[in-house]
Symmetry: C2
Subunit: 320 residues, 2 copies
């Protein structure tokens, strides 16, 4: 890791113009890392373009510095491309071509699945977040941290660690956070600003969804189901239920939680979470899906009751 | 603060037996601080009794080291009493007398309202938690930190800062957490272990409660109401709804959130939260209640509809 940090820091100091990108449908780790690195480089007099294909929507778009991000690029010559929090080039979408035009191509990422597509790959799966790695690069290059930089880095780390409680939370993440607070960052303001607030339709959808919870296999499997009709009744958006899986997941005794969402008529997306014992990536792979040991998923078509029955049956093999 | 830390550390090293207490209806900050300090002192060969009047229930009782806490005391001679996270002696309940018998009496606390009842008062309102102060005392006295001590301190700080996101989260809290993780503490395990898990009755009560949410004053006031009948229908316990206030509170645009709970027939408890602009302690005081600027409450008797109407009317004066 140290060698790559040094290489990246050298390039940041030597070159004078940078294109900074993150994956499509970006998250706070990617966006915060972009804003932090872009701002630190600009303050050093460098020319920097931060680019995402689409305009950021709230709450992500509420992050301070979001206005620095362009959605059109009028120039196409840079002395380096930095790709942040992105595991392969195809996840860049339209920016892929531009990224390849502007070498050296530098990847800074913490995804285990990163395919090392770049000329320099600062890829550290043990890192809590890409924000943590960007912090290290900024420090190594001696770039100045101001409040905008500090807030963006903090937002990245806070988001990817689930407020410093997920299993990827490292001692280093805490120590960087401690440092960033000295620049006036307020954890509460960042949290409030960049997290989904409820709307009445979301709460209506939650009310309807809670009514569908069922437990199987002696309470070890918890399932919540959401139909297109429920989304319509609530006046909500399909994406509004993405985090609802916490409800079946956090029922005492549950080992495997499933959130089944109808994404088109008789077409369903199963999101799976494990509380430790079951490898849900293996479970999902039986249905043609994939993911991580503790978070995975798959899609399928058919009648909800039949799909559910088949799934419940399969889970029993994993609970023994 | 430094003088008091030194004084407390000296006493810990010089004396040989300690009674350690926290306030009645204890929370994780108090309990974690007791277990950490008690364990560190025992490992140094000291005689220590940790006492709470009542047995700890889950999830609080799941904290590692809970078995070290006694609920009866057969001896009554100690060379010092340490009272942790407790703002006045009356909050000690039955242990008050025993505390006063065993001088010096040492108070370690971060409540602004602490009345400095002890012989030595290490009272630091700027501290994120009592756990943070206990950590400093342990370090100053050179007591050994092992995994039990580290986990208990981490649980205390994690709980009182709401996973390092509330406004009391300090740079020091992050830096101590960084240090504690080096002893093998897992933030996720501590979080899962010591936080309420859902039960089906709790989720049923949440479902029923979400159906009661109403917005007033152009969406700036959000109210959720819970009746005894709803609790009965859900098969839940009255305390199960304590955290439900997050739902009206986190609706976009809400400035004041109220959770109205029926605590006896036609007897109601209003819990109030402010998202910044309104001082809800002042609002509560109009109804004979009190609290902090951002979290307050009051109790009253009558017909729910009338009480609510009166309350809604009063709030308008605070929103202008």
């Amino acid at each position: 890791m140290e060698a790559e940090i040094n290489q990246v820091a050298d390039i940041l100091l030597q070159k004078d113009s940078f294109l900074i990108l993150t994956h499509k449908d970006p998250d706070l780790d990617g966006i915060g890392s972009m804003i932090a690195l872009g701002t630190a480089l600009r303050n050093k007099g460098k020319r920097v373009v931060l680019f995402t294909e689409e305009k950021l929507q709230p709450p992500l778009g509420n992050i301070k510095g979001a206005e620095l991000i362009s959605h059109h690029i009028s120039e196409n010559k840079f002395s380096a491309t930095l790709v942040l929090d992105c595991s392969d080039l195809n996840r860049l979408g339209k920016a892929k071509e531009l990224a390849l035009l502007n070498r050296p191509l530098i990847s800074i990422d913490h995804h285990e699945t990163n395919d090392h597509f770049a000329d320099i790959n600062l890829v550290v799966p043990d890192s809590s977040s890409t924000g943590e790695l960007v912090y290290k690069v900024i420090k190594k290059a001696g770039l100045c941290i101001n409040k905008v930089v500090a807030e963006a880095l903090f937002a990245a780390i806070q988001a990817d660690t689930g407020c410093f409680k997920y299993e990827n939370t490292t001692s280093t993440a805490f120590s960087i956070a401690s440092e960033l607070l000295k620049y006036g960052v307020s954890p509460w303001d960042v949290y409030r600003n960049t997290n989904e607030q409820y709307t009445l339709p979301v709460l209506k959808l939650l009310e309807l969804s809670l009514g569908t919870i069922e437990l199987h296999h002696n309470g070890k499997l918890g399932i919540m189901s959401i139909t297109l009709n429920m989304i319509k009744t609530a006046g909500a958006y399909p994406g509004d239920s993405e985090r609802f899986i916490s409800y079946p997941r956090f029922i005492a005794g549950v080992e495997v939680a499933a959130l089944i969402r109808e994404i088109a008529e008789k077409e369903y997306k199963f999101s799976l979470r494990s509380n430790g014992k079951v490898n849900v990536a293996q479970l999902a792979s039986i249905f043609g899906g994939g993911g991580h040991a503790k978070a995975a998923g798959f899609e399928c078509k058919g009648e909800l009751s039949e799909l559910k029955e088949k799934f419940i049956k399969e889970v029993s093999n994993f609970l023994e």
